[in-house]
Structures are given as C-alpha cells and as structure tokens.
Amino acid sequence: MKPVMAVFKREFAAYFATPLAYVFIVIFLLAMGAFTFYVGHFYDNGVANLSVFFGYHPWLYLFLVPAIGMRLWAEERRLGTMELLLTLPLPIWATVLGKFLAAWAFTGVALFFTFPIWITVNYLGSPDNGAIFASYVGSLLMAGGYLAISAALSASTNNQVIAFVVSVVVCFLFTVAGAPLVLDFFQLWAPVVLVNTISGFSFLTHFQAISSGVIDLRDLVYFGSLIALFLAINVVLVDMKKTG
C-alpha cells in the first residue's frame, strides 16, 4: 500500500496546489444548488427529503467528473512526467489506483460540502436520515464509477479535450442504459434477458435503488466491479503505451 499512498498523497495535494480544486468545488456546489432549488423547485415540493437533490447528481457528474478525470493521464503524457512516473519503482497498478483514489477522494470532498442542504432539510422537517445517508453513499459510488471510466479513457490519449468528450459519451451510455430511451429500442425485438442485462448496467437504476434507502449488496457489487473493471482497463492502456 505504500506506493499507492505515495501517489495518492501527491495527486491529492496537486488538486489544492492550483485553483482547480477551489474552482471545481465552487462550481459543483453552485450547480447542485441551482438544479435543486430553481430547476427542481425544492421548496415548492413541500416534502422534507432530498430526492430532488440526489436526482440531479447523475446528470451533474456526467459533465463534472470527466472534467476531473480527463487530466489524470493525458496531462502526464503531455508534460512528459509520465516518463518520470513510470520509471519510478512503482507497480503500474499502484500508480493507477493511487491516482484514482486521489481523484475520488477529491470528489468526495466536493460532495461533503453539500452538507448544508442535509442540515436545511432537517431544520424544515423530519426526513429519513437513513435514506439520505444511503443516497450519499450511492452518490459517491456513482462518482467513482464515472471517474474510473474517465480515468481509463484519459490514459488512451494525450489530448484532454478528446479525453473529456469521449468520457462524457461513454458515461452517458452507462447512465441511460436503464432509461426508456434505450430500453424501448431494445424491447421491440430483443429477448427479455438481454433487456434486463442492459438495464442492469445502468447507473441510474442502481443509484435509485440505493437512494431509496436500501443499500443492497448487489448495487455495491455493481459499482465495485465496474470500478475494478475500468481500473484494470486503465492499467492495460498505460502498459500498452510502453510498447510505443
């Protein structure tokens, strides 16, 4: 774990060494607020829960998380520090994991600063705090999923814009896999098993399941294995760069 920690510490500190962290957190919080209060009409609903707030998380993550992930590898390659990083005696998996965990922890920090809305909703009524906690866990897991996808795609290019755009598209497909938009198309002709499988890949389906207040092992396994899969792809992509 020592190599992972070394990479993690450097990466995590790097967010706060530049305005990146502050700009990101401020925009994240403003966007969360704007969607919850103005688009979602949080007060008008007259219900003391955060389902409106969490309902926008997948859509905000869709753009904000690839913005974090795009630089993870693309920037290292462009600056030439990739050569330095990969010639240190660190296993590639440790470097991949350290970078991912640092970025994930950073999105965790941004998510943490949404706590005033939890306080607000408790002030206004008596919400199901267990469900809210579960939603936060689900939200963080979902952010990890988006991030793993973005990080892996970032390793495939040294152009951050390409990394961002491709990540948004792939993340979008994972988000809406369970939505009528996609499922209606398949339901016309595909067998039920296939439709269920596709729907099973959806971030929304799993996130909504957790948000209802039930942290089901299947949902945890889903996000865990999705993250593991894309980290493995990330390792392969980084390793492939060595062959030129």
Partner: protein
Amino acid sequence: MITLQALTKRFGTFTAVSGIDLNVGKGEVLGFLGPNGAGKSTTMKMIAGYLTPSSGRVSICGHDVETDTIAAQTALGYLPEGAPAYGDMTPRQFLGFIAQARGFSGAEVKNRITAASAKTELDPVLDQPIDTLSKGFKRRVGLAQTILHDPPVLVMDEPTDGLDPNQKHSVRNLIRTMAAEKAIIISTHLLEEVDAVCTRAVIIDRGRIVADGTPANLIARSRHHNAVTLSLPLAQLAAAKATLEQQPYVASVEEGPRYDGAGLMTVFPRGHELIIESVSTLAQQQKWDVKELYAEAGRLDDVFRALTTHDTQRVRERAGAAA
C-alpha cells in the same frame, strides 16, 4: 552493471534502435553520442523500463528490466529527456514524493532531500514552485531526483542541456565525484563534455553503434590527429605550402584564417604519423619566421561527422524506403 543484448526497437516499419549490444561496468562514465534521431533517447527509455523493446533485453545489476522491472528500477536513477517535473510542486515537495515513491519514510525522506539538494546546489529555491524556476534550476531538480536514492546505476538524457557554463562545470564535477562508485550513461550533443567527464564514448547512428572507445581513442581517428598547425607571415605562406606539400610524410596542406599579416596552415600527415619534429626542423632549415607551431590531438567533431549522417539525409532515406 548495465547490459544491453541485441536491443531493438521498431515503431511500425521504422527501426529506431537496431541490435545494440553494450556492457557498462562500475567506474565507467559512458558518453552516448549521436545526431538527433539516432536512437539515443529511445535506447535510454528502454533501459529505464519506459519503453518495451521489440526484441533483445536490458538488465540492470542483474535484474531484467522487462521481467523484474521494479528491482531494476530501484537500482536505477533515471533523468528523462527535458528533466520533466511537476511544476505546481516545490522542489522540496517534489523530492519528497520521489523519496516516498522510492520507499523511504520518516526522517530518511528529509535526509535524502537535504543530501540531494546540497549536491545539486538547490538549497536557495527549495520552496519555490518548480514552474517559476529558471531552466538551470529546473534541470538540477531533475538531477536531484535522479541521485536521490544514491543508485548504483545512473542513466541521464542530456544532463547539462540548457545550463550555463558555470552550471555545466558543477554538474560535470558532480558526475565525476560519483563516477568511481557507479555505472553511468549520459547522452549529450556536446563533444567537449565527452572529453571532460566520460571514460568511454559510444557513437550511434541510425540505431547502430558506429564507434566505441575511450575519448582519446576516438579522437585519434580524427583526420586532425597529429596534424601540425603553424602560422607564418603572409609573404612566406605560398612558398612554405609548396615546400611542405613535397615532403614524403605530408598528405595535404590546408590554409586557415589570416590575421595581423600572418596566415595559419594545417599540415596533415600520411597515416597519422607524428610529424611535428620533421616540420619544425624543416622550418628552421628554410628560415621561416614561424609565429606558432603545434601538433593537434584531433577533433571529436571530425570523427562524429565522419561516422554519422545528417538528419535530412536520414529522413529522405526513410521516405525512399517507404515508397
């Protein structure tokens, strides 16, 4: 301590490095010379484990770089081309990261940073962001990173590139002080650098080794080796040239620049013979007013130019081969 066996790297149809065999032992400082694009950096990247060879193998202190990567990289200090570093960190933070990545912890991290920054004279800028440092300091941050763990093997891609003459001098001193205990490879464009720090020079061209020897050895292959340069008043120049050209030991005579009523002339011997005594005796007999007379050791750039190809020619050849 560094062994390269039939090391080859192909990028598509282009062969960047073609079957290089090399052995570098403790106490050797090997100067890696070659024109841009000859395969120097590609070779060094393969030694460092950043690029995987197409065929052949590299081992560092007995550890195969491909199969025993971590052990090999632990024994190696590597300075990539351009000395990349994380610009938003200060040298102290950066070296701290390198130390931790290399498995040091606690007080040892601090000691390593102190020792490495003292050797590379980084102390005054340790707490300024690397992005704000001058080119010379940036390069030295890279050097500090390379020697931080006191590795038995050092591979440095152009360690003095972008340094001023004073900084070059101190970096060369640093390399010399470490030389006895380590195996070192440096690449450079500066031929005087090879003379100043290297115990061995290897010239590569188009991915192949075209010369390998001590710097003195290579210099002896120069056409200037044992040539005699003399300066004479302009009035005597033409006659002296004619006389010299008739001597059996002279291959050719070339006129050099003229200044202050005198002209320089370089006399090339047949077959690298030492001819300075003969020329000097001749000058006395002929009563030439010689202002200067000296034998040359040779010029490394002669050898370099004779053995390597110009980049435009290489690109043309490659385009021709592809067509």
